[in-house]
Symmetry: C2
């Protein structure tokens, strides 16, 4: 198995796209390829992550992307794994490159739902849950994650301020991220005064609907003679699944797929949680960041929300988490989110994260969840 590197990365600004998913994906992909110092013809396979292209009346995005890149002959495929689509695509690119099937591959995640009204967008999101058992009975993701939050609060002593601290920290980070949907800080008072969306989740516990696109280039170490960027060495690429419907799980104070993917990733990388310098985790809701940090083994069960309030996860804390601003404030363009986490890690490592730098960038972990954990991907990156 060959060593695979991330050698280029690019993202647009998350928010509302004025162009189609196809156009955004092409633009961002070209930027990532250029960033790697490559020509498009160096790319031997493209992996497009997209969930809701049908709402734009466009399937078969892969060849259209490759047309736009000037490499129509190159094979492509579109991948969907709910909110973890582009980390699933990264895994496929990793397998192709590490396995020797391609020297360089492109991963681009793109989503556009901003042309729909909020109710329609919420409805489409909810198709990623277990439709006949959850969605059809009225559950959408704020409700499902509220259920997880209730379970956590019932088991562990918490206060709203603990979850508020996660939102405040992520907004503070996003204020320095030019890719972020929300580039402004919020106060704890603003958080506490925000309306309840699905008890106990308030408005500022929830990530926004974002459009966006993010791309990374994965290449074999031996195919990159003189990298023009500081590459990320992919030290682990692990994915796992879990029972989808919440009513069928025995325990709701964590996501089984997160724990499993994390265990596999740490085994692959021969690292422990304390060996990771900073994290990008899947905080679609504040409770999700707390659960992620416990599932990843960063903090003991029932302590992550408290640690957040104590500042442990701030950029200058003992374990920086979501320096990008996370899904919460950077935004959550479904299929772009996982690739976007890698863009952040790449920017941190390459000294591009001005104003939101983390102190150490030797190792980093990206954690991306599909739905309420029916799927999860964990990638660990190191330096040459």
């Amino acid at each position: 198995m060959r060593e695979a590197w991330v050698v280029g990365a690019a993202s647009n600004r998350y928010g509302k796209l004025a162009e189609s998913a196809r156009e955004a994906a092409t633009r961002v992909s070209l930027a990532a390829i250029r960033d790697a110092g490559l020509e498009p013809k160096a790319i031997q396979h493209t992996f497009v992550a997209n969930c809701f292209g049908l709402t734009e009346r466009q399937a078969h995005l892969g060849p259209l992307l490759n047309n736009g890149l000037g490499i129509p002959e190159v094979p492509s495929v579109t991948l969907e794994s709910a909110c973890s689509s582009s980390s699933a695509a990264l895994h496929e690119a990793y397998v192709h490159v590490a396995g020797g099937f391609a020297d360089a591959a492109l991963v681009v995640g793109v989503e556009r739902l901003g042309h729909l009204d909020t109710m329609s967008a919420t409805g489409y999101f909810a198709y990623a849950a277990d439709y006949p058992f959850e969605t059809r009975n009225g559950a959408t993701f704020p409700g499902l994650y509220a259920t997880l939050a209730h379970a956590y609060q019932a088991k562990y002593p918490t206060r709203p301020e603990m979850f508020g601290a996660i939102a405040v920290k992520n907004h503070a980070n996003a204020a320095h991220n030019p890719h972020a949907h929300f580039q402004k800080e919020i106060s704890l008072e603003t958080y506490l005064a925000s309306p309840v969306v699905a008890s106990p989740l308030r408005l500022y516990d929830c990530c926004p609907f974002s459009d966006g696109a993010a791309a990374v280039v994965v290449a074999a170490r031996e195919a990159v003679r003189s990298p023009v960027t500081e590459p990320l060495v992919i030290r682990a690429s692990a994915r796992a699944g879990a029972v989808t419907a919440l009513q069928d799980r025995g325990d709701l104070t964590g996501l089984p797929s997160s724990r499993l993917a994390a265990a596999q990733a740490f085994r692959q990388a021969k690292l422990e949680p304390k060996g990771i310098d900073f994290f990008e985790v899947h905080d679609c809701f504040t409770i999700a960041e707390a659960l992620a940090l416990e599932d990843l083994g960063v903090f003991p069960r029932g302590t992550a929300a408290r640690e957040s309030e104590e500042g442990s996860t701030a950029r200058d804390g003992k374990v920086p988490v979501n320096p990008s601003g996370g899904l919460k404030a950077k935004g959550h363009p479904v299929s772009a989110t996982g690739a976007g986490q890698v863009v952040e890690i790449f920017e941190q490592v390459n000294g591009r994260a001005r104003g939101r730098e983390v102190p150490r960038t030797g190792t980093a972990l990206a954690h991306n969840v599909g739905a309420t954990g029916g799927s999860c991907s964990v990638h660990i990156f190191g330096r040459r």
Copy 2:
């Protein structure tokens, strides 16, 4: 790189599904796993091909499939490459198994559009074309393939009877296939009397809309101690892309992605077209079968339609093509079609193709096209 085998296969009867895509995929997957003599827990990754699950309000099909199989912890991903989705999924499974990332993987293709009316289904299909340049201006696939047929007829001397012979042959084969949507023969007179759908294509030039599901299990040779079936050795797995919109292509008498994928596949397998005992090719329209056979190098340019009329592609002809009945008569459940072609090859090799046997089954080729050739997959199979 390890040798990868197809060790189990199953399909339902194509037509109109009374169950959801999720239910059909689960049922057929279990049958394929049992066919391989395996337990579901032997499967280390599942690849689900599906294009139009959103019309059933269900994304994230992978974990739901794995829930149903009793292996919720196993990673999964859904793949889309238009009508070549499940051959793209097979390629990913091949890469995982041959590259040593999984010992056994499941590929299931499933599509359900029968709950929509014909106009809606035609519209959804057309999202796989280049929407702003083709679909939005009124083009659907019968019109696009009619354009290819016109180009062929303008360049080569043909008669309607030549294309009729393709339809008659495929219906004759499907009459013996219990998985086929249409299990009845048609006469040349019926073909010639059928209404024009998009000139020059008549009703019987066109494949039907089918629902369906087909699954295969791919395993590493070294992981299969005593196969309970006669495995297919995957001797080549190649994919290619092409300019999507027809108006941007220089030549319409063939599909560039077919030629490219075929060339790569023959190189991988170290074979020539004449070394293949029988073919399953992508005949969404009769013209597509003629183009496929020329793109694959089976017949010289401009001769495939004539060869078909002369009986060369019949089951007892010199080159048996589509013993299953092809998309034309077996049916075309979009994302199931590519996996279904492999099911046919597996059944031929395992002596299950009663009444439609081909004389030699030492090597076989599956050719699966996405849209009008924006994507193409070619797989070549041999015997142990």
